[in-house]
Symmetry: C2
Subunit: 562 residues, 2 copies
């Protein structure tokens, strides 16, 4: 059996290695258009930033390793240019020699990835405008950042970084993972960075009110964040640097521009072979990664996946799923019964000292689907016991089904303990967990790591209180004409108060309950919604209509309508 | 309805607060023998060590807070001395006034905790021998450490720490959580620390071969670890300091001794009331925390719990379970249908820069139960992408059912990313996860946090390969008379080699396969068992009998029989 794999990075390389382990006799040919296989594209921003110093660190496995260790015919600089599904042949072009050859396959695996979107804007081809996809891309960015433009040559990266002629101002176009990581890494290199995003938020997998906090954090760290403004074009300024022109008419000066407005599945080859393409533009596959041709498989960023939670087709370009898909194809080719479960969209991103993460579905996506069978909560627990040094506030949003308590999604931000929590939520979603399970889950606790009630337990407890009716909930963007009751202490109100709210500190509530109206819905406010929960319980039991405002004052600044 | 809660720390305080939220009308009386309620006993070692500076930081909620915020009659220094289940009364003694009173209850909740075991050894009452359970315990230890013994008075904690008369040598008796945390914290204070443990390992929840690594790590950090030696007594030395005498006849000089040999459920009150006590010595409860008297509940360290994985009764004193049990009692008293699921034993411990963690069942416990339907694997993955700075090796042991793949337990050690992984495993076990689920789980990945195949995925993949028969496995303590094949490179063998093993580097295996015997079981070795896995796959497909040695050379030093 001869298997040809097109694309030698995450999904392709994973498939090739696994297939060799399962089938020592299979003839395996893996071709990669670029100069490297199995390189760490997730590391590229950090190589640009300098925390990964050596380019060679990014090369996880080499062509030679695939040949020697796996007996795989591995060819770099070799592009698949057309497929004949009827003849089961593929045409390959060697980019070094220019030679074109035709190879027969029994099974073909497509793992071409996705290409950075590069819209045909005026000036897009000016020098100094880069994408970040490949090792050479990162190399070119580094060279550009290290150049001495007066002498128009590449200088020592660490010698003259402060000379006048070095790039000083960067514009990053696009506020997704790569955009954020590049923005941070360019700040680390000493550049003044502007991030331009056409949408009304950065980090599209997050809900907008959570992204607000990311934007503020970036601003606090010196990044100029410009939302709701698309790029209209680029031009060379009088001084020889670039200008990024936006749809709103602004011109942002830039010595370097990073284009990171997203990726588009590489489907040209699949289309030329007549393979079915999904509505979202990715190659359509079944749960064994078969394309519409049973002898051709596809994996990775080029395909559409089923969203694990919603069951909808989606484009979710992530390394973990690509690797698992590659393994599944190898299993299927080797005659095993493997199935892909769908993609949850678990992701995580470092930005300065903070971590941004999410798993499962966002509220935005639920709304797009017209799904109203959900509730949401906001929590602001400590990352670990508050009495142990270094505790930081976590910011957590959890979405769950109103009808059955199933956990739908979680978004976690913070400067400590984020990965611990998002992975608990991610594993929970994978296992079909409900909020009742979250409440009872037994997570690790010692003062440096968590609390006896871990934030994940705490999320379950709060959610259960909501579903049980113990704690009716409302949100800052939906206060209606409720009567506002603030149960914080007067000292807290001195810092920030809510106009029109009556203040009765919680310890006085029982004795002053006569001050509250019985004919209106009472919306209770405190710092984090904990004391407001206690107050809500008192009020409900005393016959009042009461709701807690989720997340309390900590939610107010980012969850209120703006 | 009147509810009396005996014990105002984790389980009791949690129950009291929850009950008030559920029932505004209930009369709630919470009594605590000691001077503080709801204090952070998990923080005591860190207060001794100084990283938690203020004693007041340990007081999570005060008596006053319970009174004012929760309208709970909260009494400290108040001990329950007897119960009359027939009359439904309890006798309380006020330790300040000496007054004894009798209170009637409708429901009684016992949360008395567990007391440090203090065996009646010769000299046990000598000054300078401490337990670590309460805030006053920690205070007395600090005072002792800060005293100037020549002047026999307490000195400023931070002025004269290096004077000759300060305690310099500590002996910690017992190698469990508290013992380890105390040992570390005493090292931080500049003491020379000896840890004495009667068992053949520290950290009893870990398997012995995993504990080996902890012991080495402690030794590396200057702690003298003495295993297999019990304490026989204490005496005052000629110089006025202490000596700890052991069963083996040693005498360890000590200026301070910390007794941390475990805790014993406080069952005196329960016994006096005729409540059923389990075989392991804890109060017996059902899954709604009822004792044998339907109006008396018990929670926390004083009770026996069902082990979540094995279903056996066990004593597992942990703060998280105690808190959840307290909530469940409140729910049940309030007429709700809440049930406790059992305790997994998820725990985590910091020791210098390392983290030690476990969840679910250990191999030791499976062996004690005569359970042979399990397999184990050892893994040594990076905590995050190796090319990103700061990656550290994780040491992972995973136990799973041979018959159905169910995840039974995990032990994770390392200096980075441990909590992220143990919580994934913990959530997985709570949800009845199999190794097939682990393989497909979608955990967070970006270079600073993990790998595209997270260590938890990787554990699933390896385990599935074992159960599928793709990778027959053996272990260093069970090599039998297999033929040893080492597939590492010669440079690696120069550092450490296995006597009698034939070396064929993996890339040469296919061409040199004729050198291997067909009539013997070939046991394959490499550094981490990854290349050995590739080799095993080649050998099996070429008709050899082959097994991988789990964990490779990285397992050898701690998993070989000693």
């Amino acid at each position: 059996m001869k298997v040809i794999i097109v694309g030698g990075v995450a999904g392709g390389a994973s498939c090739a290695a696994r297939l060799r382990r399962l089938d020592e006799k299979a003839e395996i040919l893996m071709v990669e258009r670029g100069p490297y296989v199995s390189y760490a594209n997730c590391g590229l921003p950090y190589h640009v930033g300098g925390s990964i110093e050596k380019e060679s660190s990014l090369l996880v496995a080499t062509e030679q390793l695939f040949r020697n260790q796996f007996a795989i015919d591995c060819r770099t600089n070799c592009e698949a240019i057309s497929i004949s599904p009827e003849k089961k042949t593929i045409e390959l072009k060697n980019h070094i020699t220019g030679e074109v050859s035709t190879e027969k396959y029994d099974k073909l695996v497509l793992s071409p990835g996705a290409a950075p979107i590069r819209p045909p804007l005026p000036g897009i081809d000016l020098p100094g405008i880069f994408s970040v996809r490949t090792v050479p891309d990162a190399r070119h960015i580094r060279e550009w950042l290290e150049r001495d433009s007066d002498r128009n040559e590449v200088t020592n990266p660490y010698s003259g970084i402060d000379t006048v002629s070095k790039p000083k101002r960067a514009v990053v176009v696009g506020g997704g993972f790569i955009g954020l990581e590049m923005a941070e890494n360019l700040v680390h290199r000493g550049l003044e960075v502007t991030l331009i995003e056409k949408l009304d938020q950065v980090m599209p997998p997050l809900d907008r009110e959570m992204a607000r906090l990311v934007e503020r954090y970036m601003t606090k760290h010196g990044i100029h964040v410009e939302l709701n403004d698309g790029v209209a074009g680029f031009r060379k300024s009088a001084k020889g640097s670039l200008e990024v022109l936006t749809e709103s008419g602004k011109a942002h000066p830039a010595d370097i521009v990073i284009m990171a407005i997203g990726v588009r599945p590489e489907t040209a080859l699949a289309k030329s072979a007549g393979l079915e393409i999904g509505k979202r533009g990715g190659i359509r596959v079944d749960d064994q990664m078969h394309t519409s041709d049973p002898d051709i498989f596809a994996v990775g960023d080029a395909i559409e996946v089923k969203d694990f939670v919603t069951g909808q087709w989606a484009l979710i370009p992530l390394a973990g799923p690509a690797n698992r898909q590659g393994r599944i194809v190898a299993d299927v080719i080797a005659g095993r019964n493997a199935h892909y479960r769908g993609t949850q969209g678990t992701s995580i991103c470092q930005i300065f000292d903070a971590t941004i993460s999410q798993t499962g579905v966002s509220e935005k996506v639920l709304k797009q689907l017209g799904d109203t069978d959900y509730e949401k909560i906001y929590l602001y627990p400590n990352s670990h016991a508050g009495y142990y040094p270094g505790a930081k506030m976590l910011i957590i949003k959890v979405l769950f089904r109103k009808s059955n308590g199933r956990l739908l999604g979680a978004q976690v931000l913070g400067e400590d303990g984020v990965a611990k929590r998002i992975d608990s939520f991610a594993m929970a979603i994978q296992m079909g967990c409900t909020i009742y399970d979250l409440e009872e889950s037994e997570l690790s606790y010692a003062p440096p790591y968590g609390s006896a009630k871990d934030p994940v337990n705490f999320a379950g407890m709060v959610a259960v209180d909501v579903l049980n009716g113990d704690m009716p909930l409302t949100h800052w963007d939906n206060l209606g004409d409720g009567f506002l009751l603030d149960v914080r202490n007067p000292q807290e109100l001195a810092v920030e108060s809510v106009p029109g709210a009556l203040n009765i500190p919680l310890p006085e509530l029982r004795s002053r309950i006569g001050e509250l109206p019985r004919d209106r819905e009472i919306l209770v406010i405190c710092r984090s919604a904990q004391r407001a929960y206690y107050a809500t319980r008192i009020l409900l039991q005393k016959g009042f209509k009461a709701k807690n405002i989720s997340g309390g004052m900590l939610s107010r600044s980012h969850c209120s309508q703006d």
